[in-house]
């Protein structure tokens, strides 16, 4: 390799940012203080870090850090408790909804959420998830769907798209053999205990804003004690999709949404939102 190739282009050098003097700038954006100031272990372009931040922003803005308890998953985001400055319990693979059920039943005034991937929730833990939602457990389930098993390095998930290549479906997922990808949000929205079900993404600025709105709704609805909120978020997995982060973001818009359309699937009726308790 020639040394010239390692040099930055002149345009990049010209963009060197001048040292910031605080008195000259107004602070308009900051890391939520509910998010610990540590480096995350996630791959470049991964959705987890962004969604962690959004959840912690909502917790900070609602002022509910003292009342929030999370359940961490098994999978890439197994270390969620290393980043979120709240009380958390790690759950066995798929069992987060059962763990959260007990926490919330015993601490009804707390805000309890689970954070789960597609293998965790849609494969091994679908029974626990379905029954928790069917009982209308007053919890929030944040469901990260990136259509592969991330931590075990790219095997087929229940949510893998038809024809999508993974390490265990090397010729592409054969739906006739493995079944079709499970649409978790649509499936769970049919249950009477589901209060609010939505599917969002974080692959663009607008998508991020909509996801945050969904999380704000879902957290605030817990004060109503009226059922389970499920926020499915289409995540990207550049490492296991063998794509650059930019390609992965485009793949969501061009391919993932065909199987997993974005938007609200079940929203509370107007009368269900009457007289909500003050969220503090």
């Amino acid at each position: 390799m020639q040394t010239e190739e390692l040099l930055l282009p002149e345009t990049a050098l010209a963009l060197k940012v001048p040292e910031c003097r605080q008195e000259e700038y107004e602070m308009v954006y900051h890391r939520p203080r509910t998010l610990l100031d540590v480096n995350m272990h996630y791959c470049p372009g991964c959705a987890h870090s962004l969604v962690h931040k959004l959840i912690m922003e909502v917790v900070e803005e609602m002022g509910i850090q003292e009342k929030t308890v999370g359940v961490a998953p098994v999978g890439c985001s197994v270390f969620a408790y290393d980043y979120m400055d709240i009380d958390m319990q790690e759950a066995a693979h798929g069992r987060a909804a059962a763990v959260a059920t007990a926490m919330k039943r015993l601490m009804p005034d707390k805000f309890v959420f689970t954070y789960q991937g597609d293998g965790d929730l849609a494969a091994i833990g679908i029974a626990e998830t379905l029954h928790a939602i069917n009982r209308g457990e007053n919890i929030l389930i944040v469901f990260m769907n990136n259509a592969v098993y991330g931590m075990t390095s790219g095997q087929m998930a229940p949510t893998t798209l038809a024809g999508m290549k993974t390490t265990t479906s090397p010729d592409g997922r054969d739906v006739g053999y493995y079944g079709a990808p499970i649409k978790v949000a649509e499936l769970m929205a049919n249950l009477p205990g589901a209060f609010y079900v939505t599917r969002q993404a974080v692959n663009s600025a607008n998508a991020v804003r909509r996801t945050k709105k969904a999380l704000q709704h879902a957290f605030s609805y817990q004060s109503l004690h009226k059922g389970t909120c499920l926020v499915e978020i289409i995540g990207n997995c550049p490492s296991n999709w063998k794509m650059t982060p930019v390609e992965a973001a485009r793949f969501i818009d061009e391919e993932m949404v065909k199987t997993f359309p974005l938007g609200d699937i079940k929203v509370p009726k107007a009368e269900d939102l009457k007289n909500p308790e003050e969220v503090q």
């Binding site: 850090q65 003292e66 929030t68 308890v69 408790y81 066995a92 059920t101 007990a102 926490m103 029974a127």
Partner: protein, 355 residues
């Protein structure tokens, strides 16, 4: 004096759980222990406690994990096939060092087996059961009274060591009716500042996990657990002895088989055979020191079990070959008669003396 009641073992256990301040019970029906869930489903709401029939034993034990992590006094119960399903959760609870009470009303197996009493879950109970290196304190009741008493003891030991405690009962003790008295009990105040109840500004976050991905840290955690188990072995051995002062022969049996051995011991003594009985109450920690002492006193030990020979391995380990150890067991939910046990003792006495 406390009122004496006539109750089923399962119901006495359930009532004791309420008196012991059990905040929550999560379970799933399975014979022969369904009365625990039924009793608590009826009674717990009257005390403003949580009781929930889960969708599976897997869910039950993970609800127990969630409740225990949040600092509540929590219990589940099941029977053999159901306890097998709970092993995943039990391993996590032990790894995360959470206190809880688990009850196994042992039936005979393997597989779906039968609903009759058995002791085939001994290995599963005392040797780990789930994955990884961990131990539970295992209490083995042999009466309806102990079904009640061990609930208080079990909760207290669980809190003391931040460890799951197992009551290993069986289908007969769970189903039999006997007199029981519920003794006065004061729920101890326990420091649970580690619980995940929401992080106030005054402390750093609490997180509960069994994950230590760096091998150096995992080994440190394993060593910490081992130190705890060593302390348990040091301090928590419980046993009961009958006629051991002058015993030349010794039955070793727990739970239901110990009850049958008491009668066998009487029959043998009438025949002039000086038999004693050692009944381990804690199956973990095992009373190996006392067995070793008795090894220099008796000529022969006979482990009597409702399985194909599981606890006999611990008896042999305890006595280190210092005394012959025989085994007598019935399987499949069949119970030995006291006469059969004495007959077997006489047979191995002859064989032993012939050698």
């Amino acid at each position: 004096m406390k009122e004496i009641k006539l109750m089923k073992g399962n119901e006495a256990l359930a009532e004791a759980a309420i008196l012991a301040g059990c905040d929550a019970y999560f379970g799933y029906p399975i014979t022969p222990q369904s009365e625990v869930l039924e009793y608590l489903a009826r009674e717990m709401p009257k005390h403003n406690r949580i009781v929930l029939q889960a969708e599976s034993e897997v869910a039950s034990i993970n609800m127990v994990y969630g409740a225990a992590g949040a600092g509540f006094r929590v219990m589940t119960s099941s029977s053999s096939p159901g306890i097998s399903l709970m092993q995943e959760g039990i391993s996590y609870i032990a790894g995360a060092e959470l206190p809880c009470l688990i009850v196994n009303v042992n039936r005979a197996g393997p597989g779906l087996g039968t609903i009759q009493p058995g002791q085939g879950d001994y290995f599963q109970s005392v040797k780990g059961g789930g994955h990884g290196d961990y131990k539970m304190i295992v209490l083995a009741p042999s009466s309806v009274q102990e079904m009640a008493d061990f609930v208080y003891l079990g909760f207290d030991l669980a809190d003391k060591y931040r460890n799951p405690v197992l009551i290993l009962s069986d289908g007969a003790i769970g189903q039999m009716m006997e007199k029981v008295q519920f003794n006065d009990y004061t729920i101890p105040s326990v420091d649970k500042s580690w619980a995940t109840t929401g992080k106030p500004a005054t402390r750093s976050r609490n997180y509960i996990t069994s994950l230590h991905i760096q091998p150096e840290k995992m080994e440190q955690h394993n060593l910490k657990l081992n130190a705890k188990y060593a302390a348990i072995r040091e301090q928590e051995v419980r046993l009961e002895e009958y006629n051991t002062e002058d015993a030349e022969y010794l039955f070793v049996a727990y739970g239901l088989s110990a009850r049958i051995c008491q009668k066998a011991m009487d029959i043998a003594r009438e025949k002039g055979i000086k038999v004693g009985l050692l009944r381990p109450i804690t199956l973990y920690p095992y009373p190996d020191q006392r067995l070793l002492q008795l090894a220099s006193q008796v000529k022969l030990m006979l482990s009597v079990e409702l399985n194909s020979g599981q606890m006999v391995e611990d008896v042999k380990l305890a006595v280190s070959g210092k005394v012959p150890v025989g085994f007598y067991g019935r399987l499949g939910g069949m119970l030995p008669t006291p006469e059969e046990i004495v007959e077997h003792l006489e047979k191995i006495m002859l064989k032993n003396h012939a050698n």
